[in-house]
Structures are given as structure tokens and as C-alpha cells.
């Protein structure tokens, strides 16, 4: 079973009455449970469209996507997912505590369990002491922390984060790295898009690169750092030339594997890939 | 911080006060209608505040009609409705002339309503009564509205005119004196109104049996009309036509000529009848007067 499975996904937007723009063009990739995958690409590459299709916000014109084997069109697919959208402005008339209570209740959480979880998360994201001020008084970075807390609220098995470090200051980014590492240690799968390549390099197991709606590279970070001087140089060259000169180290051969693969050790998986 | 809001607020209030101060003396003055019009044209502040109070008075006047019918709304019948014979029949009491002769209810009667079931629902849910057989609530209920509209705008002539009529009708014994009292207040506030002079004269002539006293007011009313005609007697055909078509103008002339006849002023009655026929085609009293005295009808001026 894959945490995320995307097969030949195509997402289009109408531009005129008769023409459409292919934001995502036949993209396929998989994310295994427990992996941290960075989703890279320049602005307009199709990252957010892919994520929207993954979350069922956008209907794909072809291909399919599943989360833990459940088609994304079904509400149940999102029951084990925490999602952070790019720069959301949480209700200016609610406090962070009320915002999290609202999302928690929508997830079926309630009572003291919910209160305790919110209290714990507010400390984790650095909003302790700000829980009862209105969201409108919070800075953009603080609002992003509220967003991170709501994504973590229901103890998800998969975190999908769009431009996760947007609006965060250096301390916020450091705190975020700590949270992501803690979630990884807990076994949570993390799939996130970011323009902060250093962050991707530090946190991710694997990167997937999109350009003009197509998947142009898929590499293990550990392999990449052996072959390139820096991730940033590699990324810039990749996008400018439009082609990947490096050996593709993504688990290409595993795409059609059955779920028994998950039971293998990390070493076995790496061997299979290489 | 709050001071930043307080300063402009106080400034705004001061400006408001200044404007009111500039406008109020003109508004509180009791000019005749023409004079008032001139002041309104010259002073924008007076004009704006005047528009507001006139609008409020007009709104109240509009509601008064509803009040008399317990909230039922009437409208003028369309031409096709009139042609199809859907007309307002005379109703129980003597107030029929407050309706136009071709008025009908906004929610139609079942035989004119194509909606059948939905029509029944609307007739049940909304204040509705068949205008052909309808009556009125206690007219005294609407009187405060007239008191209020004339208090709001002392130059709202319709309020005094219609209000005095209601004062007259509301009492079972037809209280003419109270109606005259209300009209006298209206005349004091609007000495240039021919309508109020005409109505005052009408009550004296028709209800008090005092033609001499009535003549004083009716003569004033006609003089106002003549002054107005002389002043606005240009080539604006539509305006003149409207003036002549005005039922109030016609009634004023009729009442005046009738009062002249009743006070045995033969020569004057003939002279004014000829004048009335000359300028005013539907001059029933003028025609009748000339016929009574066996005189030929003058040729009416082409309009």
C-alpha cells in the first residue's frame, strides 16, 4: 500500500471557451508510508494543482490518485490526512483555540481529548500564550503556525503541506524542521512543496521535480548530494535545461509492486531501487 | 487614538449645525408656495432639508391610505382592466371620492386572478378585501398620521387638505368646525395655496351654509390661480394642459361660480363663468350659470 499513488494524472484549466491549459500533464509518482518527499518546481510548475487533485479539490481530466489506496474523490480518503494550504487566512473573528476546536470537531474529535490535543499543539507550534487572541491580530507567520497546528490536529498518517515555510521567519522554519522530524520519527508520511531548498535537503528522503506540468526528475536526496555540489545549483540547471542528466534513483521498478513491499526493511528497499 | 475620531465627528456636527442654522430660518418662515419654491431654488441646504421633510410627509401620506383600509393596498386600474369592466363600485359609506373612480386592489379578486390556488393563499396571507364591497377602519386611527405629516412639513398642503376631510368624516356628526380649524392652520402656514382656500370655502358653502364667508376664500383661491396662470402663462402647452386638467382647479372654479350665484352676484358670476370656460374646458358651473341666465356659451380658446 502506498501513502500516495498518482498515475498518469492530468489537470487542466479552461483559459478561453475552447482552449485549456494543462497545469499537470500525465504525472505519475508514489510515496511510501513513512517517507518524507519534497515536491519541487518553479512557480506555475503544477505543484499546487497536483496537490489540489490529491486532496480532491480539483478533478483530474485523466489518470487517478489514491491516498492509502482510497480514491481521492471519496471523503474517507482524507480521514488520515493532515493538509496545510498555501497561505490561508484563518477566520479573523476566531481565536487560534477556537479555530483548532472548529477543525477538530469537523474531524470527529471532541471533549477533553480535543482540548488536550489543542493545548499540546499550540505549544509545539509556538503559539502558547496566543491561543485566545483573535486570528486577525496574528502575523502571517503566526497564522501559518495555526495552519500547521490544524494539519497536525487529528494525528494524521500522511501530511500534505503546500509551501509549508511560507511566511515563517528563520526561527519558525527551525521549529518547523523540528516538528517535521518529530512527525517522521512517529512514522508519519510527509509530502510537501517548498521553495526552501536547504530545508528540503535537510528534511527529505526524496525529491520530485515538476516543470511545466511534467515530472522531470525524481531522486533520493542522499544520492543527489553525492552527485551535485548543491541542491540549488542542480535545481536551477534542471529547470533551465529542462532535462535531467542524473541517474534516476526513484523507485521506478516498485510502482506496480504489491503492498508486501512495505514490510521490507529500508536497506532492502534501497537495494531494490539501486 | 479615539481623539482622531472625535475631532472630525465634532467638526461634522458643527458643520451640520451651521447648515441647519442657514436652512432653518427659511424653512420656518411661512412663505406662500411660490415664495417657498424660490427659496428652495436659491438655497441648497434649505432645498435638501426641505426635500427630506417633504419626502417623509409624502411617505406618511402614502401610508395613510393603507391605514384607512387596514393595510390593504390599492392601485389604479389599468386601461385594459377598465375596458374589461373591472371597476371600483361605490362602497358602503360616503368616502368613495377618496378612491379614484378606477381603483382596484393590488391583490386581485378571485375572478380576475389567473393564479387560482396561489391567489387564494395570497388573499389569505395578505391584508385583502374586495374593493367593491369594502369598508373602512375607524378613520380616527389615521388622523395622527395627518397630524404628524403636517407637523413634519407645515407646507405639505395635501396633508392639511385630506386631513381636514378625515377630521370631518371621522366624527359621526360631521364635525365641520374641527375640519375648519385644521384647515385654518394649513392656510396660516400656506397662504398661497389655492387648494386649502378652496376646501375652506367648500365647507363653508356646502356644510355651514355661509356662502358670503365662503366666497371670500373661494375668491382668494381663484385669484391665486389667476396669478399663477399669468405668471406661468407661456407657450408650454403641456404645463397649461396639466394645470387645466387638474381636478382641483376645476373644482375651485365650480365652487367659486356657485358661491357667486348663491350670493346673487349675477354680473360677476357671468363674467367669471365666461373666463372659466375660456381658459378651462370642463367648467361645469360656468356652463350651467350661463344656461341659467339664458346666455350663449363663449368660444373656448384653442389649447
Amino acid at each position: 500500500m502506498y501513502a500516495i499513488a498518482v498515475e498518469n494524472l492530468t489537470v487542466t484549466y479552461p483559459t478561453t471557451r475552447s482552449e485549456t491549459f494543462r497545469a499537470v500533464d500525465g504525472v505519475s509518482f508514489h510515496v511510501r508510508p513513512g517517507e518524507i518527499v519534497g515536491f519541487l518546481g518553479v512557480n506555475g510548475a503544477g505543484k499546487t494543482s497536483t496537490i489540489k487533485a490529491l486532496m480532491g479539490f480539483q478533478t483530474a481530466v485523466s489518470g487517478q490518485a489514491t491516498l492509502f489506496d482510497v480514491p481521492v474523490q471519496e471523503a474517507d480518503a482524507r480521514s488520515r490526512v493532515g493538509f496545510l494550504p498555501e497561505t490561508a487566512l484563518y477566520s479573523p473573528y476566531l481565536t487560534p483555540f477556537e479555530t483548532l476546536t472548529f477543525y477538530g470537531e469537523l474531524h470527529g474529535m471532541e471533549g477533553n481529548a480535543l482540548k488536550d490535543r489543542i493545548g499540546e499543539l499550540l505549544i509545539r507550534v509556538g503559539l502558547s500564550g496566543k491561543e485566545h487572541v483573535l486570528n486577525r491580530t496574528l502575523s502571517k507567520g503566526m497564522q501559518q503556525r495555526v495552519g500547521i497546528a490544524q494539519a497536525l490536529l487529528a494525528t494524521p498518517r500522511l501530511l500534505i503541506l503546500d509551501e509549508v515555510s511560507s511566511g515563517l521567519d528563520p526561527i519558525g522554519r527551525r521549529d518547523l524542521r523540528v516538528i517535521l522530524n518529530e512527525e517522521r520519527d512517529r512514522g508519519t508520511t510527509i509530502f510537501f512543496s517548498s521553495h526552501q531548498l536547504s530545508e528540503v535537503e535537510t528534511v527529505c528522503d526524496r525529491v520530485i521535480v515538476l516543470n511545466k506540468g511534467k515530472l522531470i526528475a525524481e531522486h533520493r536526496v542522499s544520492d543527489l548530494v553525492k552527485q551535485v555540489s548543491s541542491l540549488e545549483d542542480y535545481f536551477v540547471t534542471l529547470v533551465e535545461t529542462g532535462g535531467d542528466s542524473l541517474h534516476r534513483t526513484a523507485p521506478e521498478s516498485n510502482r506496480n509492486n504489491d503492498t508486501s513491499e512495505d514490510t521490507r526493511t529500508e536497506t532492502e528497499r534501497k537495494e531494490a531501487v539501486v | 487614538m479615539k481623539l482622531y475620531f472625535a475631532i472630525p465627528a465634532v467638526a461634522l456636527l458643527a458643520l451640520n449645525g451651521f447648515l441647519l442654522r442657514a436652512a432653518l430660518p427659511e424653512m420656518l418662515r411661512q412663505p406662500d408656495t411660490e415664495g417657498a419654491e424660490e427659496v428652495y431654488e436659491e438655497k441648497p441646504t434649505t432645498s435638501i432639508l426641505g426635500e427630506f421633510r417633504t419626502s417623509l410627509a409624502s411617505y406618511l401620506y402614502g401610508r395613510a391610505h393603507e391605514y384607512m383600509h387596514g393595510g390593504v393596498v390599492f392601485r389604479a386600474a389599468t386601461e385594459s382592466e377598465v375596458q374589461k369592466g373591472k371597476r371600483v363600485a361605490a362602497h358602503g359609506d360616503s368616502l368613495e371620492d377618496h378612491h379614484g373612480s378606477q381603483e382596484t386592489s393590488v391583490v386581485p379578486e378571485s375572478e380576475y386572478d389567473p393564479r387560482s390556488f396561489w391567489g387564494d393563499i395570497e388573499r389569505g396571507a395578505q391584508p385583502w378585501m374586495d374593493i367593491r364591497r369594502h369598508g373602512h377602519r375607524d378613520l380616527a386611527e389615521a388622523l395622527p398620521l395627518f397630524r404628524m405629516m403636517t407637523w413634519t412639513d407645515p407646507h405639505f398642503v395635501e396633508g392639511y387638505d385630506m386631513g381636514s376631510y378625515l377630521v370631518f368624516c371621522a366624527a359621526k356628526d360631521r364635525n365641520v368646525d374641527r375640519a375648519l380649524e385644521f384647515l385654518a392652520e394649513g392656510i396660516a402656514n400656506n397662504p398661497g395655496s389655492f387648494r386649502l382656500q378652496k376646501s375652506y370655502g367648500h365647507y363653508l358653502l356646502a356644510n355651514k351654509g355661509q356662502p358670503e364667508e365662503a366666497l371670500v376664500h373661494l375668491r382668494k383661491a381663484v385669484e391665486i390661480l389667476e396669478r399663477r396662470a399669468a405668471k406661468g402663462g407661456g407657450t408650454d402647452r403641456t404645463q397649461r394642459q396639466q394645470l387645466i386638467d387638474d381636478i382641483e382647479v376645476s373644482q375651485t372654479w365650480n365652487e367659486f361660480i356657485m358661491a357667486l350665484r348663491k350670493t346673487n352676484r349675477r354680473e360677476e358670476a357671468i363674467r367669471w363663468s365666461r373666463r372659466c370656460i375660456e381658459i378651462n374646458a370642463p367648467c361645469a358651473s360656468g356652463v350651467r350659470t350661463l344656461k341659467i341666465y339664458g346666455l350663449p356659451l363663449p368660444k373656448t380658446r384653442s389649447l
Partner: protein, 259 residues
């Protein structure tokens, strides 16, 4: 509690907190009181016997302001979530779009009803203090208002998923406050034209909202007796059916909407 009811309850609670913290409701409550007391204040200047006028002012204020609030609340439910981008964390929960839309609809209805109750409560309090009693027909007035708000919320939610938020607000307000004038114009035009035109008018008439049928405020003001009970019952069935129609239309669009 079923998942759908839980979603509805949460959405109502969230929207309620927002409404309470916005200023518009308080402004309208104050305006209502000012209108009623203002109308009554004429008695201090020697104009007595204004009972009907004061009641008229009170019910005009309650009807007008609750309608404005109803349109405002309903037309911003979905567009505001989209513009703030909070629609994403909302739909990232295991809830369907149908649950979200119906939840927003129920929240709009409940909040409009709450605003109406507050405005009416304040007005009734003022009228009671002024010793201006009302008749039993008031119960039917409240009942029919509740049904009309159901319809108003459904139309406004529907408009808000088809057109922009501001356009939905304008159209909603136009339909809510102008429907009486529209339907009366159609009624006047009916019968004057050729049969085909009459059919067209009848169809258009059927599609137009008939909020005036649900507003018996004038009967309350003028102290009429309660209306026949089959009328509120028939209007309730009609109101629920037509609300379901508008909601289904909204759902058709919302479920296919790219967010």
C-alpha cells in the same frame, strides 16, 4: 450524533461565533430600537394615537434588517471560505462537499433566524414597554418568516456558488426585497398579451421567489385575526420543496467546482 449532524453543529457554532463578533448585528439592533422609539417620540410633540405607525415601523425594521442580514450571512458563507483559502483545510477533513454545503446552508438559516429572533425580541420588548400589544397572529408571522428564511438562505447559497460574492449579495437582496414588485408586474402583464405570452409569464411567475406570501407583518400590524391554518401549512411544504430545489442546484455546481 451522525457525522452530518456533527458537521452541521460545528459549522453553525463557528459561524455563530463569527456573527457575534462582527459589528453589523448590533448596529441593526440599535437602528431598530431607534426607529421604533423615534416613531413613538412623535407622541412627545403632541401627536397621539400613533400605535399602528409605531408597530409598522417596528415590523418594517425587523423584516428589512433580518432580510439584509440573511442575505449577507448566506452569500458570504462559501465565497469567504474560498477567498480566505480556508475551504482547503475544511474540505481536507473527512467530510463531503455535500455535507459542507448543506452545513453552510443550515448555519445560514439558523443564524438568520437568530438575528431575526433578536431583532423581533428587542422590538417586542420596546412595544411592550410602550404598551402596544399584539395579537396571536404573531405566532404565524414568526413561523412563516422561519420558512421564508429557509428559502432565502437556499437561494443565496445557490447564487454564491454560481456568481461572485458581491453579485450574489446584490441579486439576493434584489430578489428578497424586490420579488413582490416583480411578481405584481407579472400579474399585471398577465391577460394583456397573447396566450403564448401568458404562458411565458406564468412560467416566469412560477420561477420567481414569492417572499411576499410569507410576510404577514401587515396583518400583525393592523391587528387582523390569525390566518386559516391551511395557509401556513401549504406555504411550509412549498417553502421546503423550493429550498430543496435551490440547494440541489447549488450542490450540482459546488460538487464540480474547481477550488
Amino acid at each position: 450524533m451522525t457525522p452530518t449532524l456533527r458537521v452541521w453543529r460545528t459549522l453553525i457554532r463557528g459561524s455563530f461565533l463569527e456573527m457575534v463578533r462582527r459589528k453589523e448585528l448590533y448596529v441593526l439592533v440599535i437602528l431598530t430600537v431607534l426607529m421604533v422609539v423615534g416613531a413613538y417620540s412623535f407622541t412627545f410633540f403632541g401627536v397621539s394615537g400613533l400605535e399602528i405607525f409605531v408597530k409598522d415601523m417596528a415590523f418594517t425594521a425587523v423584516g428589512l434588517f433580518s432580510t439584509i442580514l440573511g442575505v449577507t450571512i448566506a452569500t458570504r458563507q462559501i465565497p469567504e471560505e474560498i477567498s480566505r483559502r480556508t475551504i482547503y483545510p475544511l474540505l481536507a477533513r473527512p467530510i463531503s462537499r455535500a455535507q459542507l454545503l448543506t452545513g453552510k446552508f443550515v448555519a445560514s438559516w439558523v443564524l438568520t433566524l437568530a438575528s431575526f429572533a433578536l431583532l423581533l425580541g428587542v422590538s417586542l420588548l420596546v412595544l411592550t414597554l410602550l404598551r402596544l400589544p399584539l395579537k396571536v397572529i404573531l405566532i404565524q408571522y414568526i413561523w412563516l418568516k422561519a420558512v421564508s428564511f429557509l428559502w432565502l438562505s437556499a437561494i443565496c447559497i445557490c447564487l454564491s456558488v454560481y456568481v461572485s460574492s458581491s453579485a450574489a449579495f446584490t441579486l439576493g437582496l434584489l430578489l428578497a426585497l424586490g420579488s413582490g414588485a416583480f411578481t405584481r408586474s407579472f400579474l399585471l402583464a398577465y391577460g394583456d398579451g397573447v396566450p403564448i405570452l401568458n404562458w411565458l409569464i406564468a412560467i416566469l411567475y412560477g420561477f420567481l421567489p414569492h417572499f411576499t406570501l410569507f410576510d404577514i407583518a401587515r396583518k400583525v400590524v393592523y391587528g387582523w385575526d390569525p390566518i386559516a391554518w391551511w395557509i401556513p401549512l401549504a406555504l411550509t411544504v412549498y417553502g421546503i420543496a423550493i429550498s430543496a430545489f435551490w440547494l440541489k442546484l447549488a450542490l450540482n455546481r459546488f460538487e464540480k467546482m474547481a477550488l
